[in-house]
């Protein structure tokens, strides 16, 4: 039992070590360092040796010294295998080793005599591995987007793996792509368009959605049930089945190519979800409060403005953020309805850059960063509201 556990433990942990070191090596390679191999055999073997040593010597030496000794030995061997790498690479390896051996030192011989020790170890490392794997996989494209925007096409064609940023150059040449994107490619204008459309959509959607949601939540009228069920059904129809009729009708009415037309479409497509989310919240507000309002002689306008609105600010905030996100990220309608660059939104502009003449990729990526940053910033800043918006409005995505 114990032998089996120890073998499993060392194999799993060396896999973990290998994946940690590999990610670090990939990141180092992308800084332009010549690393030609991931050296699976070496790291796997060292992983097994380190884990065995850590288990058997764990009790005899104190924890700190064993962590430092093992990591140093490993880094020294690493240095002899691939010498002439910059010092920061070794420092990084050393830190990873510290982290790894520190994790190992939590296990000693006693741990391996439990019933489910293999499973526990497996789950422990799976969690650790998962966290690192998911963070890497998620963040890598974002990292690539950001770093590419600071390089130039010519340099990337010479060495596609060198993403190192030269911080010694002056600020103007460092941010050259962004300056060009804003001056030559007119991204300031597109950003303004995007903001107008998104904020406009939020305002109109709330103005129309709040009263409608209130009526659905509170008032009795013929067709109420029909309305509240059809909201969900309508919401599930995709933009692509609306595109052809809207395109033909808008062309004939001359509404294409205007930010205004886009605003109407976005409002109509986000209204169902806004009503759906808001009415759910309004129903949770105690009815007595409104009855008190009616006693005071308020009409429905007064009730909504003075009682419902102040009580449901968090829900309204999450609806607003969610609608903003949809409008800001929307692509299909802006592709179909905007032809002239003066009315482009950011998404449409980036697609235009990509389709048009060979645009150097650093400009494309700088544009992508410009469209992504505001929404990520809003997300991180208002995470609580947006997450609740995502959950309750998640029938769409």
């Amino acid at each position: 039992m114990r032998v089996k556990s120890i073998i499993t433990f060392s194999i799993i942990s060396s896999f973990f070590l290998f994946s940690l070191v590999s990610i670090w090596k990939i990141l180092s390679t992308l800084q332009g360092i010549e690393l030609k191999t991931l050296n699976f055999n070496f790291y796997f073997l060292s992983g097994i040796i380190i884990s065995c040593v850590s288990i058997f010597l764990g009790k005899k030496l104190n924890k700190l010294s064993i962590v430092i000794i093992l990591s140093s030995v490993f880094v020294l061997i690493d240095y002899f295998i691939n010498s002439s790498l910059p010092i920061w690479h070794y420092i990084g390896t050393f830190l990873i080793l510290l982290f790894f051996v520190n994790k190992l030192s939590k296990y000693n011989k006693k741990n391996f005599s439990y019933n489910f020790s293999v499973q526990i170890i497996f789950f422990d490392f799976l969690t650790l591995f998962g966290i690192i794997f998911f963070s890497f996989v998620i963040l890598f494209p974002f990292y690539l987007m950001l770093v590419t925007s600071f390089k130039t096409q010519a340099l990337l064609l010479i060495n596609p793996l060198d993403f190192s940023i030269d911080f010694t150059q002056n600020i103007k040449s460092l941010f050259k792509s962004y300056i060009i994107v804003f001056t030559e490619y007119n991204f300031g204008k597109y950003m303004l368009n995007s903001s107008i459309v998104s904020i406009g959509t939020v305002i109109i959607t709330l103005l129309l959605g709040i009263p409608a949601a209130y009526a659905v939540a509170r008032l009795n009228f013929f067709g109420k049930h029909f309305l509240s069920t059809s909201i969900l059904i309508i919401y599930m129809f995709p933009a692509i089945v609306l595109v052809i009729p809207l395109y033909t009708v808008f062309s004939q009415l001359g509404l294409r190519n205007s930010v205004f037309g886009l605003l109407i479409i976005y409002t109509a497509t986000t209204l169902p979800v806004a009503i759906y989310m808001l009415q759910g919240y309004f129903k949770s507000i105690p009815k007595e409060l409104e009855e008190a309002g009616i006693m005071d002689g308020q009409n429905w306008f007064g009730i909504i403005v003075k009682i419902i609105l102040p009580l449901s600010l968090p829900a309204i905030a999450s609806v607003a953020l969610y609608v903003f996100m949809i409008a800001w990220n929307e692509f299909l309608f802006s592709l179909m309805f905007l032809d002239s660059p003066s009315s482009f939104t950011l998404s449409r502009a980036i697609q235009f850059l990509n389709v048009g003449a060979e645009t150097p990729r650093q400009y494309l990526m700088a544009g992508s960063v410009v469209v992504t940053l505001p929404i990520l910033f809003i997300f991180v800043y208002f995470e609580k509201y947006l997450v609740s918006g995502l959950t309750s409005g998640s029938v769409k995505g």
Partner: protein, 419 residues
Amino acid sequence: MSNSLSKIEKRTAYALTLPAVLIVFAIVLFPIFSNVWISFKEVQLKDIRIPEPRAKKIVKSVKNEDSKIKIIYKLRNSSLIQDIRDVKFQDKFPNNVQPVDLDERCNFISNKVQCNFGDWSKKYREQFVIFFETKNGEKIDKKQFKLNKTKLKGKADNILLTSDFTLLNFKKVFTNYEFKDLLLTTFYYTFFGTVGAIVFGILSAQMVNQNFRGRSFIRSTLLFPYVAPVVALAFTWELLLDPNSGTLNNLLLNYNIIDKPINLLGQKYVSIFVFGFEFKLRLALTTVIIFEIWRYFPLAFLFILARLQAVPKELYEAADIDGAGPYTKFINITLPQITAVISILFMIRFIWNFNKFEDIFLLTGGASGTRTLPINVYEQGFSIGDIGMGSAVSIVIVLLLLFFMLIYFKLIGKRANES
């Protein structure tokens, strides 16, 4: 009294809902129904402009005659396929001039030439000329003739409103040899995208549900792909996967894992040998599905995490006392607790992946075996320019969607009854 109150209530309710209902009706419901109408018509993208009569005015002086001027109108029907009926023409001229030998279709009243051109067939073109001379033989001022704009009016049918219907579009959709392939691709994309997103959602939620430092950071990071704009993400992935200068291929080449670049987005099939059997994997489709999973597993993660956090701790404590291992606990406690969420998620994601357009459009444009039904709508309607066909494909989507929704609401209703 109560009757009048309920009347007021009703009236208020209609007033409150009407604006929202109207705009949704105009922009969402109306198009869905007009798809039905268009799908029974033969309409090309270039036909949707309503035909109109057009004139180009050219003013020319006449040789050796200062008091005369020649005006040429190049008249044409803007449409190549439709007639215009009852074309009327009007142009205004300076005070002191009169026309010479005016065309018999026209008359000259109070400085205006008015003509009745009658019907113009499709592709109609005419060079229409009027000569003018000054009444008193003075030199004519050419500039004054250019000031006025010619007015032309005509009646034409809006091709969308005519009453010719045809079943041709649907016949083409269903008899097309690609239709089966189209359905299959859509199904693969939808099904594997959904299952993948849910599996990764479960894994990541299970992970984040444990206590460790930086947990809230990881939680927000995991949602990034879902929140960020598709356009930016799709182009970044294109750069990442590019066969020549893409980062992924170059990394794999650098570490000698592959010996020549793989065109992950442009290659339809790749052969894989497993135990001597050859399997053909649809490479581009797989890549697109992986992008799909990457982008949408955060949503599954969010749902499942919320459910996991609501699982009572006592269940796990009891299991610990019974001596259950982590695997048993996961299978017997965690999974049963999240099956309800998973089944709802599956239906929602299935419907939405089925509808997904942007992701594939931006990554491959529907090439190399990644054409799904929504991509086909765009392709038929705007690349080929056959609006009728595009609408017919939309109708197929709507019908399938209604079928899925029926199942979805049945399942939800069942769940509501159970709980």
